[in-house]
């Protein structure tokens, strides 16, 4: 990742040097490629249910998941136990009967409906390493605009385990934040103005997102496992993320060397690849093979990893300016509600601070419009 980012930087530098370089969207003419089997499975030392997701590759112009259905999926450990996975939703095979143990090796077996057998090698589960702390600090970052710096929380992680010989780390992040609708829903209009019974009903939401970026670290260059202040994500004040309260869940996985290489490759291939100073892109080799036809390339990873998780909360930062826009209330047209076409009903109405009625868009009174849910998560 380091190399890639630096090389990406170099390319920027080069283009900066040329001053008049330019970047445009471009549509290369790409032939449809063969559809290949994709495996996405995970077994950890935390409780199940464990999932093995099987799919086929999707073309670039239609990125919908194409489930691979009708297979029988089996996980076998090196102590002679086998666990069957059932297809719960198309392509998603689940099992809730066992918990992974560090030191035990697991192997995935897939028998496709067309009779082809796919297998992984035995993957030994590495031990888990506790996370010391995850913390956030207010920081400013320069932006494209030289007169403006963005401000926000930079998250950091420290993980220490002097005893551990773990080398390969992967962190995946999930954020959850509380946010509020800009206005209360006081009335609706569908031909007549009706007071809304519970004006606060849709004003508070929680939104949970798995962050796309993941973080990898190869600790073999360190004296021992002593990862201090590793920078994770940065959340600025240009959205509502930090407006009330923000929580970050960090899942730390200890990987095998093969899995680490897999994730490094994914990162390399996915990270705004300029394809120039970077290395040659390539098809990433997974760890599952077609037993009968070894030349068939199976993509994806059956991951067996030691896992620990840590969640932290941060409140709205104090004394920091927020840059997101607040919905305007239109008080001008309030006498002309009859002009709305019934197909636009209901019209949402709120009251300003001065108790003047005005129309607003749905997203201004219903926080669910921004992707959240009004159900408070358990951990909140």
């Amino acid at each position: 990742m380091r190399t890639n980012r630096l090389f990406y930087g170099l390319i920027l530098l080069i283009s900066g040097f040329a001053v008049i370089s330019c970047v445009e969207k471009y549509s290369p003419d790409i032939k449809d490629y063969s559809d290949q089997l994709v495996v996405d499975g995970l077994i950890t030392n935390q409780n199940g249910p464990y999932k093995v997701l099987l799919s086929k590759t999707s073309p670039l112009n239609n990125d919908e998941l194409r489930p691979f259905t009708g297979a029988s999926v089996l996980v076998e450990d090196n102590e002679g136990n086998t666990y069957e996975f059932d297809e719960v939703v198309p392509g998603s095979y689940e099992n809730n009967e066992f918990t992974g143990e560090p030191g035990v090796a697991y192997k995935l077996q897939i028998l496709a409906s067309d009779g082809k057998l796919y297998e992984s090698d035995y993957q030994e589960m590495p031990p888990s390493v506790p996370i010391d702390t995850v913390y956030a600090e207010i920081e400013t970052n320069p932006t494209e605009n030289p007169d403006y710096n963005e401000i926000g929380y930079q998250f950091y992680l420290s993980s220490q385990d002097v005893e551990s010989e773990s080398i390969y780390f992967l962190w995946k992040l999930t954020e959850t934040y509380e946010y509020h609708a800009d206005h209360d829903l006081e009335y609706t209009y569908s031909g007549v103005v009706v007071p809304y019974p519970d004006p606060d009903e849709f004003s508070t939401c929680w939104k949970t997102t798995k962050l796309r970026e993941f973080y990898l670290f190869d600790a073999s260059v360190l004296n021992n496992v002593n990862i201090q202040n590793l920078p994770l994500n940065f959340v600025n004040t240009e959205t509502k993320r930090l407006s009330v309260r923000y929580s970050l869940l960090v899942d730390q996985y200890i990987l095998s060397e093969q899995a680490f290489e897999f994730f490094s490759s994914v990162q390399e291939m996915n990270s705004g690849n300029d394809l120039f100073y970077s290395t040659q892109p390539y098809q990433i080799e997974g760890n599952v093979e077609c037993v009968d036809e070894p030349q068939e390339n199976v993509l994806g990873q059956f991951l067996v990893a030691g896992k620990t998780s840590k969640r932290i909360f941060v409140d709205r930062p104090y004394g920091v300016y927020f840059y997101y826009e607040v919905c305007p209330v239109n008080t001008e047209e309030i006498g002309e509600l009859g002009m709305y076409h019934p197909s636009d009903y209901p019209i949402y109405l709120t009251l300003t601070e001065n108790m003047v009625m005005g129309t607003v868009g749905k997203g201004c009174v219903d926080c669910r419009e921004h992707g959240g849910t009004i159900e408070k998560p358990d951990f909140w």
């Binding site: 390319i11 530098l13 445009e24 670039l60 290395t279």
Partner: protein, 930 residues
């Protein structure tokens, strides 16, 4: 034309008077030039008509100025008229009273002050046995200029036999530097020889009087009447040619398109380079070389130099014998060679002479100037991003000289203009220096001390720093053995190193160093036993020392463990022998042999691997420790080089060649363009030397009465043990290189067509190349295969390439030049599908290099304006105004893909996406011609 008129104005009565009295004293026939008959003719028509009407003959060299309009305002006597006409060019017109007119550059008084020569002239006449039949009219009618008959040797020293050797040096009249590739010949006998690298020539001539002609592409042709009495030396100085009356170019055999045994040799002088439009204001050797057929790179503004489908590391760059391992500044925006110091470069693409070895694809041989031996001179230039200065001076006039060239950039202001923060906080600096001192030690020895340095420092924001340097020096000694052989001995040191530091993550902040050093001795003897053989033999020995890398913490907060990848050593010894043999007047054969002995030396730890297993760390079976200086592994090999030239006519020849070569050092680079952190690695116990083979066949023609050179050349080459890399290999900190390296094969073939017009107002070249280059890495082990073992096009495989380079000289002060470049887009690996891992999209890529970027097309234009042409001035300036990519075409530098919120989006990056205009000012002390 103003400058012709001026000659009338500047005419003084005194000169007329002198000529009148002088001419009347010789009893001159009176020829009157009248306006009715002769006004408004061109010089050639004028002279032809006069010759016919009056039975007079004009004798002049190629150095006569172009006079397109001969103005005759009054009836004047011919000799007066002629003198008026040429007075302003410092040309004196004299005649012998029998109708022969001579146009001479030197002061005519000089001729009268050489009474000693009159004597020798008289002596000659008394000894008729020495008068050769070949004495022509020129000699007989040239008695007034007896001082110009040069006596070579003396009767006392004469040996038996009819022939004697005439030898010596041809040097530049302006700065005393050797004139390479000039041709010394006696026209009526058909004898001649080209000058060697130090300006040396030797010809075997029948005793007696002859007219010796010396010519060179960019020099004024000179004729001497010589009287050969025994072996003797004749040193000749040639003046630089500004404008020639008739630019028939006579080149030496050595570089002659049709006559030489060279195939795929491209040779350009710095003058050619400077006329070509510039990017960002710098004349750039490598950019110009990329316009030649068979030369490619992965994209503009990227380092890398791919000759006939070979990777960059298969081309060896030399500057005055010093190898240069990184030839680019700022990742390839500029080349690391200061154009002011360079005299010429030669690029060998097909037949590489046996004296060179160690690289498979080509040799890029740069020669610098030697320094002005007559007077101090300075030149330089200023462009938007760089400044340069070049100083040269004699130390002891005619005997020794020195030069120094310096160049630096001040490009940071450009970066500050850029929007991106990361770039605004970045720095990009480079500088280079080049210098030499050269002496003549007596008549037979020459010594040159040469040094070269280039430095780059690029900081990318606060995240990373790149520092890299080339340092090199050579002591070159040349010694003449007798008058037909030459011995050269060079001791050479060269070092390339880089340092990368990264402070992106505090606890992972590191500094990484790499260094490559080599020590080399090379000796060569060139023997010319007679006119039909050119024998060259010698040896070279190189010791390589590589510090493979030191990975250290950058600060106290960094938790990095220091890691030293260790040193490696290699010793490369070669001996070579070659002969160019003129079997028949129309058949020449070149044959060369080179024996290579390469040793990988200790101390080193070498791993053994289990049998029938891939070379991977998990299959290491044992470790062997080798002591200091021990021979870990030795590879012996023999290179063959052969060329046949069959001349169908004097202007049409066929040539065929076969070359095989071996290479013991290669670059660890798995990026598409060459990154500043590419390391070099020696062939070792596990990684075998690369082997290359090339067959070429070509047809060459210089049609008569034109200045055109036509050539068509086809080649096929294959390389064994090509070094490729496993997918995703991190070569920076790779401790066990053999586990990241896989060896494969390269196949390349192509046809190159070229039309070159070397002189005239319009000059330049046009070339078209069709070529293919394909790599295959297969192995019984899947992890050791690239692209699943299937063949794939190399990164710089661009099948169609068309280049046009043209310069048009409108007048002496004003010229226009342009380039047109077209080629097929380079191969790329595109994403072809998407799959999901943990809910996130992952890009699935095609086979390697399965797709291509859009085709590349570019037009450049430049206008060069010289300052005034006054001869008496302190300094001369010139402006160069260039537009790169006039059409503003957005050529794809790369296409890349970003995983964005709404899916995967492709982007096309164009580095020079619109026309780039630069204005450069160049200056030098003295006048235009100096």
């Amino acid at each position: 034309m103003n400058w012709i008129k001026k000659s009338y104005v500047s005419l003084t009565g005194i000169i007329i008077l002198v000529f009148f009295s002088w001419l009347s004293a010789t009893g001159q026939q009176k020829i009157i030039v009248s306006p009715q008959e002769y006004d408004g003719l061109t010089w050639s028509d004028f002279s032809n008509q006069i010759s016919e009407n009056y039975n007079v003959r004009f004798f002049y060299g190629d150095d006569l100025p172009v006079i397109e309009y001969v103005k005759v305002s009054d009836s004047t006597r011919l000799e007066v008229f002629l003198q008026e006409l040429f007075n302003d060019f410092d040309i004196y017109v004299a005649n012998d009273g029998t109708g022969n007119y001579f146009f001479i550059k030197e002061n005519p008084l000089h001729t009268e002050l050489a009474p000693g020569f009159f004597k020798s002239e008289r002596e000659k006449e008394k000894e008729p046995e020495e008068t050769s039949d070949s004495s022509d009219d020129f000699l007989r009618t040239n008695k007034d200029y007896a001082s110009r008959t040069i006596v070579i040797g003396s009767y006392g020293e004469a040996k038996n036999g009819k022939k004697s050797s005439v030898y010596g040096f041809v040097k530049s009249a302006e700065d005393g530097e050797p004139v390479v590739g000039s041709y010394v010949y006696i026209e009526e006998l058909g004898i001649g020889a080209g000058t060697t690298g130090n300006g040396y020539y030797a010809i075997s001539v029948p005793k007696g009087k002859h007219v010796l002609t010396v010519s060179s592409i960019d020099r004024k042709k000179k004729k001497f009447s010589i009287d050969v009495r025994s072996d003797g030396q004749l040193d000749i100085s040639l003046e630089r040619r500004l404008v020639a009356l008739n630019e028939v170019v006579v080149t030496s055999d050595r570089y002659h398109n049709v006559r030489s045994t060279n195939m795929g040799l491209e040779r350009l002088t710095i003058r050619d380079v400077k006329e070509i439009p510039k990017v960002l204001g710098e004349s750039d050797l490598l950019k110009v070389a990329l316009l030649l057929p068979g030369v490619q790179n992965t994209g503009e503004a990227s380092s890398g130099f791919n000759v006939r489908g070979s990777p960059s590391d298969q081309t060896q760059f030399y500057i005055n014998n010093v190898p240069v391992y990184n030839t680019s500044h700022l990742f390839g925006f500029f080349s690391a060679f200061n154009p002011d110091a360079v005299k010429e470069f030669k690029l060998y693409k097909s037949n590489i002479p046996a004296e060179f070895g160690g690289r498979l694809a080509s040799v890029f041989d740069i020669s610098t100037k030697k320094g002005n031996r007559q007077k101090f001179s300075a030149s330089g230039g200023v462009s938007p991003v760089t400044g340069r200065l070049f100083l040269e001076t004699p130390i002891q006039k005619d005997k020794s000289s020195a030069f120094i060239g310096l160049r630096s950039t001040y490009s940071d202001w450009l970066l500050k203009k850029v929007k991106s923060v990361d770039i605004r906080n970045s720095k990009a600096n480079f500088r280079d220096g080049i210098g030499s001192i050269s002496f003549n030690l007596g008549k037979k020895d020459k010594l040159e001390l040469f040094g070269y340095y280039s430095h780059d420092n690029i900081s990318f924001s606060t995240l990373a720093d790149y520092l890299y340097e080339n340092i090199g020096g050579a002591i070159n000694w040349q010694h003449l053995l007798g008058n037909k052989s030459k011995f050269t001995l060079s001791t050479i040191y060269s070092k390339y190193w880089f340092q990368e530091s990264s402070q992106e993550i505090t606890f992972d902040a590191f500094k990484h160093d790499f260094a490559l050093e080599n020590y080399k001795v090379k000796g060569k003897v060139e023997i010319l036993p007679n006119n039909n053989h050119k024998i060259s033999t010698g040896f070279s020995s190189t010791f390589y020392s590589i510090n493979r890398g030191e990975h250290r913490p950058l600060s106290t907060e960094s938790l990095i463990t220091e890691k030293k990848l260790g040193m490696e050593f290699g010793l490369e010894n070669s001996v070579f022998l070659s002969d160019e043999w003129k079997v028949l007047p129309y058949l020449t054969v070149y044959a060369g042999l080179r024996f290579n002995n390469y040793n990988y030396l200790g101390p080193q730890e070498v791993y053994g691997y289990m049998e029938n297993r891939p070379l991977e760390e998990s299959f290491i079976s044992d470790t062997t420790q080798y002591g200091k200086g021990s021979f870990i592994k030795t590879y012996n090999s023999l290179d063959f080089r052969a060329v046949v030239n069959y001349m169908l006519t004097t202007s049409l020849s066929f040539k065929a060649s076969f070359n095989n070569l071996h290479q013991n050092i290669f670059m660890l680079s798995n990026t598409i363009s060459i990154s500043p952190t590419a390391k070099w690695k020696l062939a070792d116990y596990h990684i075998e030397p690369l082997k290359g083979h090339q067959f070429s066949f070509g047809v060459y023609s210089n049609p008569d009465n034109t200045s055109l050179e036509l050539s068509a050349e086809a080649y096929y080459k294959y390389v064994d043990n090509l070094v490729e890399f496993k997918n995703g290999a991190d070569l920076l900190v790779s401790e066990v290189p053999e586990t990241d390296v896989v060896q494969g094969e390269l196949d390349a073939y192509g046809v190159e067509f070229m039309v070159k017009k070397k002189s005239g107002r319009l000059n330049g070249w046009m070339s078209y190349t069709y070529s293919k280059s394909e790599v295959q890495v297969s192995s019984p082990f899947a992890a050791s295969e690239v692209n699943f073992g299937e063949p794939y096009p190399s990164n710089f495989d661009k099948p169609h390439a068309f280049n046009l380079v043209a310069n048009y000289r409108v007048s002496r002060r004003f010229s226009i030049s342009g380039n047109l470049v077209y080629n097929t887009g380079r191969p790329v690996t595109y994403p072809v599908g998407i799959y999901y891992q943990d809910g996130q999209q992952v890009v699935n890529f095609s086979r390697r290099n399965e797709y291509r970027l859009p085709d590349y097309f570019r037009v450049d234009l430049s206008v060069n304006i010289e300052g005034n042409l006054l001869s008496d001035k302190f300094a001369h300036g010139s402006w160069s105004f260039s537009v790169y990519n006039v059409l503003g075409r957005k050529n794809a530098y790369s296409v890349y893909f970003k995983n964005e919120d709404d899916g995967i989006q492709a982007y096309k990056l164009s580095v020079f996406g619109s026309p780039i205009v630069t204005l450069t000012y160049n200056f030098k002390l003295g006048n235009y011609a100096d």
